[in-house]
């Protein structure tokens, strides 16, 4: 494909057309049975079948992707979809691909070809599906760690829980490369959150020139920042700063990144669905581990350990947060052997909700 000229671009450009209508991308069996599905069954960790009221069926074969994928990989996915799925394919909300098979006789061959080509089939049912994650060092200005690398390291360790092994319920992992959490990981069973841990140095000469001082002051949730007429910059009350990086987001002269101090926290027990119990936030259990690319061995071990303790102790259908709520968080720390730290006691907006107000706890 050749690039078009500027004149040609002006001639053909349109605005506000919005996305194409999804109808043109639906396989015929879906179009025919749209809104009239009756039931489904999980046939294996990566295959489920949906049956319509008409009796028609569609099989979905799910494979993992690293989310960041090359155009040639998408073309390969297209080739496979052309061969077995009539040229239709979909992605899931957790970066998996679903091959939509309308003809049962294609079900075995497509799985065989996917395996031969190295695709990881799985992620359906009470297992670990793909991780939701952010950009990290691949493309983000504020990242406190890499995202894709850490996800790869964690999912390599837990691959069996994607492809075969069962857990008490599904377990949703997520990763945010800073507390901005553009992946909204704060309601995951286990989430890895990269944290800045140091009061940021300010380049005063630069700040006055490139940043709006009132915006910088307003950006601070703990009111740590005030104007400094002497330097035509701002002052930072160090004891108030909790390194959220919001000031850095509005002003690049404040440097929140620190290769030695940036690290990893683990939060646990969130969920988004309303099954049995209401949606929950994830809670802090490990406040800090060092950033250790390329494979972050300690972080990977910590996630694996929490998965193992959950798998051993939770009741069937309990999510991590439901299990922790039932046994009590004091018991969670006991069972996991994770050290309880000052950081795990909320001293910010959720303090009142989270402190204990009864003597009924476990030893």
């Amino acid at each position: 494909m050749e690039k078009i000229t500027a004149e040609k671009a002006k001639e053909i450009r349109r605005t506000d057309v919005g996305p194409p209508h999804y109808g043109q991308f639906l396989p015929p069996v879906i179009k025919k049975n749209y809104g009239r599905w009756k039931e489904h069954e999980i046939l294996s960790p990566g295959v489920m079948v949906h049956t319509a009221e008409s009796g028609d069926k569609i099989w979905s074969v799910r494979v993992a992707t690293p989310r960041l994928i090359a155009t040639d990989t998408v073309r390969e996915v297209c080739d496979i979809s052309d061969k077995y799925c009539g040229g239709y394919v979909r992605w899931t909300s957790r970066n998996n691909i679903e091959f939509l098979v309308s003809d049962e006789k294609n079900l075995e061959p497509i799985q065989k070809e996917l395996k031969e080509k190295g695709y990881m089939i799985g992620g359906i049912g009470p297992r670990i599906s793909n991780m939701v994650h952010t950009q990290g060092w691949v493309h983000c200005h504020g990242a406190a760690t890499d995202a894709s690398g850490l996800v790869k390291a964690v999912m390599d360790e837990l691959a069996d829980y994607f492809t075969t092994k069962e857990l008490p319920n599904k377990l949703r992992l997520a990763l945010a490369c800073c507390v901005n959490m553009c992946g909204a990981v704060h309601c995951s069973d286990i989430a890895i959150v990269a944290v800045h841990t140091k009061v940021p140095p300010i380049d005063h000469a630069k700040l006055g020139k490139i940043c709006e001082i009132p915006t910088v002051i307003a950006s601070c949730p703990t009111k740590a920042i005030s104007p400094d007429p002497a330097t035509k910059s701002v002052k930072l009350k160090e004891e108030r700063c909790m390194y959220c990086g919001n000031c850095f987001t509005v002003c690049p002269a404040i440097d929140i990144k620190d290769p030695y101090r940036d690290g990893i926290a683990i939060v646990v027990g969130g969920k988004v669905n309303s099954l049995r119990s209401n949606p929950k936030f994830s809670k802090l259990v490990i406040p800090y581990m060092s950033n250790e690319p390329p494979r972050w061995p300690k972080v990977v071990a910590a996630v694996k350990h929490i998965v193992d303790v959950y798998a051993k102790n939770a009741r069937k259908h309990e999510r991590v947060g439901e299990w922790a709520d039932r046994i009590g968080w004091e018991k969670f720390f006991k069972l996991t052997g994770i050290e309880f730290t000052f950081q795990a006691i909320d001293d910010f907006t959720f303090m009142r909700d989270t402190l204990r107000t009864a003597s009924t706890f476990k030893w």
């Binding site: 002006k10 039931e39 489904h40 990989t73 970066n95 390291a153 919001n246 049995r276 949606p279 910010f348």
Partner: protein, 409 residues
């Protein structure tokens, strides 16, 4: 093309999970930008730090979003990523594609971008990772002339997204795909031309399983629900039991409202007590299904922790029909935006503004009365406001009580 040694990234080509490093290398083999992305990423791994600058103002004529400016902090070392902007392309509802459409998009990504995509960004867009400033206009022309458009960015309506819905799920209580499509089309101006004080996300989930995590990360979470009883196929209940399910332990005992019973022969549900959590329906998926009137619960306010803590969306409208042309939803959305606009500072999400200004101010502005379904429990403190109108209303009612001799509480 420069050849980078990548001993650290090479470690991430090992192992069973698909490797993003292999993907970058695949693109780098034929694209200079992808090659320098690889080089800079290895340097990040070596030095434990990212090297991207803050976003700058770039975009296409007439739009204020859809492209996020991205520049390398090390342009002398990695000149091909000096300009490496993100292009967000509004995905189709439910992320369904034909291979023909995908191939066209991939050709555009190779011609005008780095050959690296994100399928998909967290909000839902199909992302071309890395494009030069001068390529944005022609890329935009190519996309829009083929019926694609950019997604949202900045202080604007962000690209709405939805679950797979009625396309392939028996639990969808409304057509999430069509709602997502029509609402996206309705608000094209708000999506492309940032006029809000901060971002505004809408996500459409067909039921309380919430496969798009709308309750946690959408300013407006539209969650499908129903009003009728749960229909029971007793033969199918026994099918589940035969398959090994302990119905009392796995379903009856786990019902949060204790409205189910099973005596080994017949499963009974007291629908008056059911809160529609979906646990029993997802476990006994062949036996149980919702019936009656369908619609959605509209919840508002969720967001990630920046800056004073995360919020989950709050129930605002307990039940709304979600049917084309979605007039009620569109009107409500416009009223909410007006109130938010009038009451917020820059970078304040709508949930934060409701916290500051109070739920009453918000509900009155959008014309929604108070319902007990909006709260978990009533307030615990004795500090509540009265307007002159409130007192007048209470007094008036008491006058009437005196006339009729009947108390109204």
């Amino acid at each position: 093309m420069k050849k980078y040694d990548t001993p650290l990234l090479d470690e991430l080509e090992k192992g069973p999970f698909p490797s993003f490093v292999k993907e970058i290398k695949k693109a780098a083999a034929k694209n200079e930008m992808a090659n320098d992305e690889l080089g800079q990423l290895e340097y990040s791994f070596k030095t434990n730090r990212g090297y991207w600058k803050h976003g700058g103002i770039v975009g296409v004529l007439g739009y204020g979003g859809g492209v996020i400016g991205r520049y390398s902090d090390l342009p002398d070392m990695f000149p091909e990523v000096k300009f490496f902007h993100t292009v967000r392309i509004n995905q189709p509802s439910g992320w369904f594609y034909t291979t023909k459409a995908l191939r066209e998009l991939m050709d555009l990504c190779d011609t005008y971008g780095s050959g690296i995509t994100n399928m998909h960004g967290s909000t839902g867009d199909l992302v071309f990772l890395g494009a030069r400033t001068e390529d944005l206009e022609p890329l935009f022309a190519e996309l829009t002339s083929r019926g694609w458009d950019l997604g949202g960015s900045g202080s604007a309506l962000r690209t709405p997204s939805c679950c797979v819905g009625p396309a392939r799920c028996e639990w969808a209580n409304y057509d999430t795909l069509e709602a997502c499509y029509q609402i996206t089309q309705e608000f094209q101006d708000e999506l492309h031309r940032p006029a809000f004080n901060y971002k505004y996300k809408i996500k459409f989930a067909g039921c309380a399983v919430d496969c798009v995590a709308s309750i946690a990360r959408a300013d407006c979470s539209v969650i499908g629900t129903w009003k009728g009883p749960i229909l029971i196929d007793q033969d199918a209940v026994r099918w589940h039991e035969k398959k090994g399910m302990d119905i009392n332990r796995e379903v009856v005992d786990m019902c949060p409202t204790q409205c189910i019973s099973y005596d080994g022969k017949e499963l009974k549900i007291n629908n008056d007590e059911c809160n529609r959590c979906m646990h029993c329906i997802t476990r006994l998926h062949k036996a149980l299904k919702p019936s009656g009137e369908r619609g959605a619960t509209i919840c508002i306010g969720s967001k990630a922790p920046i800056v004073v803590g995360s919020l989950l969306s709050w129930v605002i409208v307990p039940f709304m029909k979600m049917e084309p042309p979605y007039t009620e939803f569109k009107e409500l959305t416009r009223k909410m935006w007006d109130w938010w606009d009038e009451n917020s500072h820059p970078r304040e999400r709508i949930g934060e503004v409701i916290e500051m200004k109070g739920m009453r101010s918000f509900l009155e502005a959008i014309g929604v009365p108070p319902f007990p379904q909006q709260i978990k429990e009533p307030r615990k403190d004795p500090f509540f406001f009265f307007t002159e109108g409130d007192i007048e209303r209470f007094k008036k009612r008491e006058e009437e009580e005196k006339k009729t001799g009947k108390f109204i509480f």
